[in-house]
């Protein structure tokens, strides 16, 4: 099983759920159409950053929202204004996912290399 980005030992965590059934998650985009760059991890974006409050494993995952309203809500923040929203149809072979943080609707997704993200991503009209 090869992940899209190199992951440290023990990552994803044991309690990350393997995606085996269809589900939708939401991700913010810089622009349309979506590109692979929209699905880069924090680590890929910031190779030299020391993430003291976020584990290396989590830094190598991708933030997604599992609830549309919650995804729209975060677009109100200054750094997120002007971004677009896409829904990603996950299915068997998409990788593993885990709810992270204090909120039930924020998850970290570790995509498998073979999962075609862009083919399963569509921009949401708000």
């Amino acid at each position: 099983m090869t992940y899209r980005e190199p992951l440290p030992e023990g990552c994803p965590p044991d309690n990350a759920e393997e995606i085996t059934a269809p589900r939708i998650v939401y991700r913010l985009l810089r622009s349309a159409p979506p590109t692979d760059d929209d699905f880069r991890s924090q680590r890929a974006e910031k190779p030299h950053r020391i993430f003291r409050r976020v584990t290396e494993c989590r830094a190598r995952g991708v933030s997604v929202r599992t609830d549309l309203d919650e995804a729209i809500e975060i677009m109100k923040l200054p750094q997120m204004q002007g971004k677009l929203l896409c829904q990603v149809q996950l299915d068997n072979g998409a990788g593993r996912i885990m709810q992270t943080g204090e909120w039930p609707n924020h998850s970290t997704w570790w995509p498998l290399a073979d999962f075609d993200i862009l083919a399963n991503c569509s921009v949401v009209t708000i």
Binding site: P13, D14, N15, E17, L28, Q42, E45, K46, R49, I50, R52, R53, V54, T55, R58, V62, S63, R65, E70, E73, I74, K76, L77, P78, Q79, M80, Q81, T100, G101, E102, W103, P104, N105, H106
Partner: protein
């Protein structure tokens, strides 16, 4: 130069978007990511009244209102240096925050915390992440679902979960064996912590 330490991350998406911080004399602050300089996030930080901050965290006040209610109208820019665990310097700003592009849109509300469902506990049990703790009940608070046992190795504490055993009938000072699911969670600063969820209890 004023400094603060981050005490809680309240919004995260590809990095810290909102955080709560305290200064050395206990003042409360809220920081929001506003832009990037190179790969470094920049934050607008405002002092906030604790009661208004509590209202924001409970989902009763929106972020924009919280930021505009800053005492004295003072606000700062913070660019994290060193490690984010270190005290961070705040640079006072002269222009009004309301005249910048740094305010969120109206009606950004935090969702109040929701209780854990049984999913993480079930997955931990399926993966054999089970810890058995034997000791004297030190406290068992049913209303908040928290317990602690005094064991030979010290105090072990944990929680209950929906659908799991409740704490009714446990007697403080009596000896019990708790079989618990060990679940990896995040503390308010997003560091991993191991939490024990009571799965089975027996008097010994």
């Amino acid at each position: 130069m004023k400094t603060v330490k981050i005490t809680e991350i309240v919004e995260y998406y590809d990095g810290i978007q909102l955080f709560v911080a305290r200064d050395p004399i206990g003042g409360h602050y809220l920081g929001e990511a506003v832009d990037k300089v190179g790969n470094c996030d920049r934050y607008a930080v405002v002092g906030v009244r604790p009661e208004l901050l509590a209202d924001f965290q409970a989902g009763r006040v929106d972020l924009r209102t919280l930021l505009l209610e800053m005492p004295g109208g003072e606000w700062y820019i913070m660019m994290p240096k060193g490690t984010i665990d270190d005290p961070q310097e705040l640079m006072p700003q002269l222009v009004s925050l309301a005249d910048t592009d740094y305010l969120p849109e109206e009606d950004y509300f935090l969702e109040p915390d929701e209780p854990l469902d049984s999913g993480p506990v079930r997955r931990a049990l399926e993966r054999g992440k089970v810890v058995t703790v034997t000791g004297l009940v030190e406290h068992a608070n049913r209303s908040v679902g928290e317990w602690a046992l005094l064991t030979d190795g010290g105090i072990q504490s944990g929680k209950t979960y929906p659908g799991g055993p409740v704490l009714d009938g446990l007697q403080v000072g009596k000896r019990y064996r708790f079989k618990c699911a060990q679940v990896t969670e995040l503390d308010p600063l997003w560091r991993d912590k191991q939490t024990l969820y009571l799965h089975h209890v027996e008097h010994v």
